[in-house]
């Protein structure tokens, strides 16, 4: 039984029956239940617990589903209801977030017009004196000359994108940075044996782009010379002797990569026809990196 006074009776407000009635009428949690009567006029409120998404979902709303709207500072409720997207595609349901806004206008009609499209009809209104009306998602309060409409919008918010959906390229990056590699390493004491191993792999049809050989220069003991293939990249350290010339051509599929001494060792140079000038020649120290079609040269500390 709704009281006629403006204040809630304490016993009624805290009694389980009163809380349950308020929760059932307003479709909210019991401890957040609004009174089912107007606090000043005592008129009973009529609320329809439901929306176009189905019956009111707030009956099952728990404390964890309630959150704060950081943009407006208001407390909103995220109603987790499966939407059509969930039923049709099996994806996670969109969250229904209740957004609160208030529109004040000189009259009730203009206020309703200003608050935009709303769902439901005004079930009760009072144009004389203080009154209110309750719609499905609107709470209308009207005074003399002013009307205020509190709109409770239920916005369907799609679930946030996953990291892969938001940054699809990140998955590739992650696969690249945390790749699982397999490798086999054979240690040979002489370059003749290493040469025989490379030839055996070549004759067996092994991809030469996935073959690497590292060893000391046969002529200059101070430098470590090596070809390093990792996918499309090729790196070369140290000097290039005649012995390593054929290996370079074998591993990179073209001529061995070498640079004339006249080129600056401090500036990166693009790839071109001159990048393969020094095939088979002994060249100065330098570190060359071939990434696809781009070849750059770096200064080598031992060069």
């Amino acid at each position: 039984m709704a009281p006629r006074s403006g204040r809630w009776p304490t016993a009624e407000r805290h009694s389980p029956q009163g809380l349950a009635r308020g929760a059932s009428l307003r479709g909210q949690a019991p401890h957040l239940a609004l009174p089912s009567w107007h606090p000043l006029s005592g008129m009973a409120l009529t609320a329809r617990g439901g929306s176009r998404w189905g019956p009111s979902a707030s009956d099952t709303m728990s404390e964890s589903e309630r959150t704060w709207c950081h943009r407006s500072g208001q407390r909103v409720r995220a109603l987790k209801r499966p939407g059509p997207r969930h039923r049709t595609h099996g994806l996670s349901p969109p969250a229904l977030i209740a957004g609160h806004r208030r529109v004040t206008a000189p009259s009730l009609d203009s206020a309703l017009l200003a608050c935009g499209q709303c769902i439901g009809d005004v079930s009760r209104s009072c144009s004389i004196g203080m009154g209110f009306a309750e719609t499905t998602n609107n709470r209308v309060t009207e005074r003399h000359g002013t009307a205020s409409v509190a709109v409770e919008d239920k916005l369907a918010v799609l679930p946030p994108k996953t990291r892969e959906e938001h940054m699809p390229w990140h998955q590739d990056t992650q696969r690249e940075t945390m790749a699982e590699h397999n490798a086999v390493v054979g240690i040979y004491t002489t370059h003749t044996e290493a040469e025989a191993a490379v030839k055996a792999l070549q004759q067996a049809g092994f991809n030469m782009q996935k073959l690497s050989i590292v060893g000391k220069d046969a002529h200059t003991e101070a430098h470590v010379v090596g070809y390093y293939n990792a996918g499309d990249r090729m790196q070369f350290w140290g000097t290039l002797g005649t012995f390593w010339g054929w290996l370079g051509g074998l591993l990179v599929g073209g001529g061995p990569l070498c640079y004339p001494r006249s080129w600056s060792r401090h500036r990166a140079r693009p790839a071109g026809g001159r990048a393969r000038w020094g095939a088979g020649r002994g060249c100065g120290g330098g570190r060359a990196e071939c990434a696809g079609r781009r070849v750059v040269q770096y200064w080598h500390p031992h060069g």
Binding site: E180, N182, A183, V185, I187, T189, A196, K210, V214
Partner: protein, 70 residues
């Protein structure tokens, strides 16, 4: 460049050589030995291992499933 490794060690690490084996390979290089490395899928590495076993290598070590973080 991987921290604590030389340029060559970083290159070896990027193709799937674990860090504890890199030191051994660098030592072999300093002793004028040669490294022939093949990397790829499991099948490719298994094929390369069988081929290298027939070429008289002083030592052959296969590293499989090494997760490399660049």
């Amino acid at each position: 460049m991987v921290g604590g490794l030389s340029a060559l060690g970083a290159g070896l690490y990027s193709i799937g050589i674990p860090t504890d084996s890199i030191v051994a390979y660098e030592t072999a290089l300093k002793s004028a030995q040669f490294l022939v490395m093949a990397h790829g899928t499991d099948e490719e590495v298994a094929t390369a291992t069988r081929i290298l076993e027939t070429t008289g290598a002083a030592c052959i070590a296969a590293h499989q499933g090494v997760v490399v973080a660049a």
